[in-house]
């Protein structure tokens, strides 16, 4: 028994744009909405041929006539036309044959929106260089989208296969990796999203991102599909950036630069690893507050450094300061700190970022330079003294000689000639003595480091005293020596003896005539120095008046006829040569104390 379902609904009643055309595509029947779908009003003249509606009839439809049979599958075709309102519209047209009526049913669907959406996605894919691909494992069929082909730089007709696809991956780690991932996807249904280098058909290397999903049916991978993106530009940019970052990191690390970031609002101080290195502080011991930084700064520099931070925050000054830190191992380092303050819209300081550099070595070199400069200045002073000598002692004696010889020649009185000769002899002796003394000075300055060694202070002093024993016996001074037997200083033995001798004979020479002379010699260590002091109760001198000239050449201060003004000058030069210092404390009639300061 069969049931026949009869429909009473006619074509005109259907709420869809449907028409029946004959084999010449003349519209014979249509649904009520058919013309309005194409934008026609009821009052308009309605075209009765398909061409009048959609323009040129697509080839696939025209070819129907050639078909031998009238029974065939529905034909669907996309057509575009410009609507009466002037818009570009897209339609899907489906043609069904109707054997009984020798004509065709046409059904239209507006796909403009879909078409636009599809175009956009295609465009987006093109712009983002994203292509798609698919591997049908059941039929062993592979599909690449146009963009996927473009990325591989193959023609649109290229027919991919699985092995060929994998061979585009660069030999080595990239190919090995993709093979591992694909086989894992096929066997276990794994997915991946990774970046690779491929070598395109044209031989260009390219960074791509490949994403793969798997379709699994009954625990078996049926289909792999995914997208394929050309990320070459961004990847290369990021690699370049990475290289720069690495380079920067290496530079920062090797230059011993520490970076800090101070959140002023929340009082949080963040250090990079180098900072911990610089300050020799372990991460666990650092609380991340400004106070923790403060506590590492050398007490003498703390106030100034905090002031510098404060001034930077207040905007008075850029933060660029130098300070010492005490590291946890107790050593002192010189740190150069620079920083920049960041502010919110209303100008409040909210953040400070900066760098610290260990400048201890630079500082050391700087100090060394200063020392050299000092030495140079001293030598300059000596040169000035030389000029003074040439001007005074050499010239006064040579001018005497020139006067006397002239007079000797003019005067014929034998008695007077005898006197002139005697004076010439004294002058030439004095000239000779001056030259000897000059030689002495030059010797010291020519070779300042002659055989420095550890010199025993007390033994040297005792020897010097023995050498002037005859002199001492005449005066009988009281001499107190308070020096440890083993105390040593690093210097030139001959210089040390010479200085001791000079200071002792000065005390003998400039004693008070009516008071028994008393000399105290002491030595002690203080900080990095060994200080030897010679104190007497002699006539002393006015330091205010002579202080700056005391160690100059040919400066005399007592009106003593024996004073030649060379002793202290030579002692000073010898001390300079040993990198030691000589100082004096004295007042008129209250004796003098000379201090010899040797570095340990």
């Amino acid at each position: 028994m069969s049931v026949k379902i009869e429909s009473n609904i006619g074509i005109h009643e259907l709420p869809l744009p449907i028409a029946f055309v004959n084999k010449r595509f003349e519209i014979k029947e249509h649904s009520n909405v058919f013309y309005s779908y194409f934008g026609f009003e009821k009052t308009d003249e309605l075209p009765n041929h398909l061409e009048g509606l959609i323009g040129k009839i697509p080839d696939s439809l025209r070819e129907i006539k050639k078909k031998k049979t009238t029974t065939f599958k529905p034909i669907s075709e996309f057509i575009s036309y410009v609507s009466r309102k002037g818009e570009l519209r897209w339609h899907k047209l489906v043609l069904y044959s109707d054997k009984s009526r020798s004509g065709y049913y046409l059904y239209f669907e507006d796909v403009t929106k879909k078409k636009i959406a599809f175009d956009l996605s295609l465009q987006a894919g093109r712009t983002a260089k994203i292509g798609s691909w698919e591997v049908d494992l059941v039929n062993n069929h592979i599909y690449w989208s146009d963009i996927t082909k473009e990325i591989h730089e193959v023609s649109k007709n290229y027919v991919p296969d699985l092995e060929g696809g994998i061979n585009f991956y660069k030999k080595g780690e990239h190919r090995d990796r993709i093979m591992e991932l694909v086989s894992n996807a096929m066997e276990n249904g794994g997915t991946f999203d990774e970046e690779f280098v491929i070598v395109t058909a044209k031989g260009n290397e390219k960074w791509v991102r490949s994403i793969c999903s798997t379709e699994i049916v009954n625990g078996k991978a049926m289909r792999l599909f995914g997208v394929f993106q050309d990320i070459d530009q961004s990847k290369r940019a990021s690699i370049k950036y990475q290289v720069l970052t690495d380079r920067m990191r290496v530079a920062v690390e090797s230059a011993n630069i520490g970076i800090w970031d101070y959140d002023i609002v929340n009082n949080v101080l963040v250090w990079d690893d180098n900072m911990y290195q610089l300050y020799q502080v372990s991460k666990e011991d650092f609380s991340g507050e400004v106070e923790a930084w403060e506590s590492t700064i050398h007490p003498d520099d703390r106030e100034r450094s905090l002031m510098a931070v404060q001034e930077a925050i207040e905007g008075k000054k850029e933060f660029n300061t130098e300070f010492r830190v005490k590291t946890s191992d107790g050593s002192v380092r010189y740190i150069q700190g620079v920083g920049k303050v960041f502010r919110d819209e209303s100008g409040n300081a909210i953040r400070m970022v900066g760098a610290n550099t260990d400048v201890s070595r630079i500082k050391k070199v700087d100090n060394r330079l200063r020392q050299l400069l000092n030495t140079t200045e001293k030598q300059n002073q000596s040169l000035l003294n030389f000029a003074h000598i040439v001007s005074h002692n050499l010239r006064s004696n040579s001018s005497n000689l020139s006067m006397l010889t002239g007079m000797l020649l003019e005067n014929t009185n034998p008695e007077k000639q005898q006197r002139f000769l005697e004076m010439i002899r004294i002058s030439s002796e004095r000239l000779d003595e001056t030259v000897v003394q000059l030689n002495e000075v030059i010797k010291i300055q020519a070779d300042p480091n002659v055989s420095s060694q550890w010199v025993r202070v007390k033994a040297t002093l005792v020897k010097v005293l023995e050498s002037i024993n005859a002199h001492l016996e005449k005066i009988c001074p009281e001499i107190n020596i308070n020096i440890e037997d083993e105390l040593k200083i690093y210097g030139v033995k001959a210089y040390v003896s010479s200085i001791f001798l000079n200071l002792l004979t000065n005390s003998l020479k400039y004693r008070k005539p009516d008071v028994p002379l008393c000399i105290n010699v002491e030595a002690r260590k203080k900080d990095n120095l060994t200080i030897i002091s010679f104190k007497d109760n002699g006539r002393g001198f006015d330091l205010q008046r002579y202080g700056d000239k005391l160690f100059g050449m040919y400066k005399t201060f007592h009106g003593n006829k024996d004073a030649k003004g060379i002793g202290l000058f030579i002692s000073k030069n010898q001390m300079d040569a040993m990198n030691a210092e000589i100082e004096v404390v004295s007042e008129v009639d209250k004796g003098a104390t000379f201090l010899l300061k040797f570095p340990n």
Partner: protein, 135 residues
């Protein structure tokens, strides 16, 4: 024109002795008084302040001397009666050839000359000519 007396201030006895012979033989004066340093001549001059007739017409002054050098003496003379500055011709007589010394000497209005050693007959002739005849 002859001077009654000349003061010679220098710490070098050889120079003083030689210079005296030279001065006397040049005829500038017959009386040369020796001083070893600034302080000695300063004391002598102060004693003569009330008897200007006894003052020397010329003083030859060395610069580098112990106790009180030439510059220090000149500073002291600024503080005393002007007769000591004005009635004596003060000439610096030094072995220094440093330009600083010559420049410094120009700061003193009452310095009349600057002679660099050795002292010569020509220097002494110039000195004699610079003496203004009395009356």
């Amino acid at each position: 024109m002859k001077a009654n007396k000349v003061f010679l201030v220098d710490d070098d006895f050889i120079f003083r002795e030689a210079a005296e012979v030279l001065i006397i033989s040049s005829g500038l004066t017959e009386k040369v008084l020796h001083f070893e340093n600034g302080l000695e001549v300063y004391d002598a001059l102060l004693e003569m302040a009330d008897t200007p007739d006894e003052l020397p017409e010329i003083m030859l002054l060395d610069i580098n001397m112990p106790v009180m050098n030439g510059w220090e003496l000149l500073e002291e003379l600024k503080q005393v009666k002007s007769v000591l500055r004005d009635s004596i011709q003060i000439h610096i007589l030094t072995s220094s050839i440093a330009p600083e010394d010559l420049n410094l000497s120009k700061e003193y209005e009452f310095i009349d000359g600057y002679i660099t050693k050795p002292l010569t007959r020509a220097d002494l002739t110039n000195l004699a000519q610079s003496l203004i005849p009395e009356g």
